[in-house]
Assembly symmetry: C2
Homo-oligomer: 216 residues x 2
């Protein structure tokens, strides 16, 4: 297991160097099935595609349903089917990067497998990790899945439009997340109504500026 | 990996024999974080605890929050913390069974780790596997997580009270699940309103009768 982790970490560093040498900013989006990862990416591509050259690496156990959705939004989309494997790893990302012309890209979004557990253990070599939890999943998610929140730069609470119909304490979610990871950023949004999505887009551009990858 | 799978399968058979020799009916409940596994078990214990001797094996990555919730409902609850591992396996269940007086039990419910992927690969040696998906997770879950639906006897669609506020095609979920696994049972319910919960309780008692474990 240590060997596996070491190999992953080594490949993650290689991925990071490759991305940086081409000035590409990469974001890994994680969350449980149905939390809204693909919906958020659809909105993101619509907004950013005219300003940046973007590609998406779309991870799924099976099917290319999400990739088909994303291809309608004007960016390059590469499907990875893990054939049942529960997470993406640095090796899969390394092979995916081979299939792009990296000199023509500025942002790569990675949609990880729908899973709040395993993806947190596998560094992909990206600049930012994001976790999405949708409000109906309940306010105990950060404290019950602490590894994910410890490894993440931004915690997005999605489907806030459903809050009036739920007994969910958003304040508790935020407090617990901050206890686990005091540096974590937190945004609330609804992919359905669009509320808060501008804050997310702002976070992407700000993080991109901070990441300062070397330009090619 | 084959060795691991074989060891798990062997231990699963041992678990099954142990359960059967004591006339205990066991159900493994799987689903994504926040799908409603604990809520369904709370309602189940409230209803069945006066008629059957029940224990719950509660799997979590960390915390005993769910076990604390369940202990208020009058049944024996054993917490397993997997320390980050993404599923329960037959060995963990085997060790958990050591800690019960099996001669005093009739039903064991197992709440698996919140994960729609990994638990499907590990047979625990129970009589029935159940997967819960909550309506807000979206109608593409069966087709995107086929392994889980292939290994499952009953598919519960929870949080139906939220359907008026969602764009979710319940018919599609059911059709896709039946294509993947023509024998799968399907129930719709809401743990919040109680709608449909009687159907679930009926399924438990009916399945118990069908399983016909040898009495001790």
């Amino acid at each position: 297991m240590t060997d596996l982790t070491e190999a992953n970490e080594r490949l993650a560093q290689i991925n990071k160097s490759r991305l940086d040498s081409h000035g590409i900013f990469a974001v890994n989006i994680m969350g449980t099935p149905g939390s809204g990862k693909t919906s958020l990416l659809e909105l993101t591509l619509d907004d950013l595609k005219d300003r940046y050259k973007i590609a998406v690496i779309e991870g799924d156990l099976a099917t290319s349903l999400d990739a088909e959705r994303l291809k309608k939004h004007g960016s390059e989309v590469l499907q990875i089917n893990t054939q049942g494997m529960c997470h993406l790893d640095a090796n899969l990302i390394n092979k995916a990067l081979d299939r792009f012309d990296l000199s023509k890209l500025e942002i790569i979004f990675i949609e990880n497998i729908g899973n709040l557990v395993c993806p947190a253990f596998f560094d992909l070599g990206v600049h930012r990790n994001v976790v999405i939890v949708s409000a109906p999943e309940g306010d105990d998610k950060p404290i019950k899945y602490p590894v994910m929140f410890r490894e993440t730069d931004l915690f997005i609470i999605n489907k806030t439009d459903l809050l009036p119909y739920l007994e969910v304490d958003v304040g508790r979610m935020k407090r617990d997340a901050k206890v686990i990871n005091p540096k974590i950023g937190i945004l609330e949004l609804s992919c359905k109504t669009g509320d808060g999505v501008q804050d997310w887009l702002g976070w992407v551009e700000e993080s991109m500026a901070q990441a300062e990858p070397r330009s090619n």
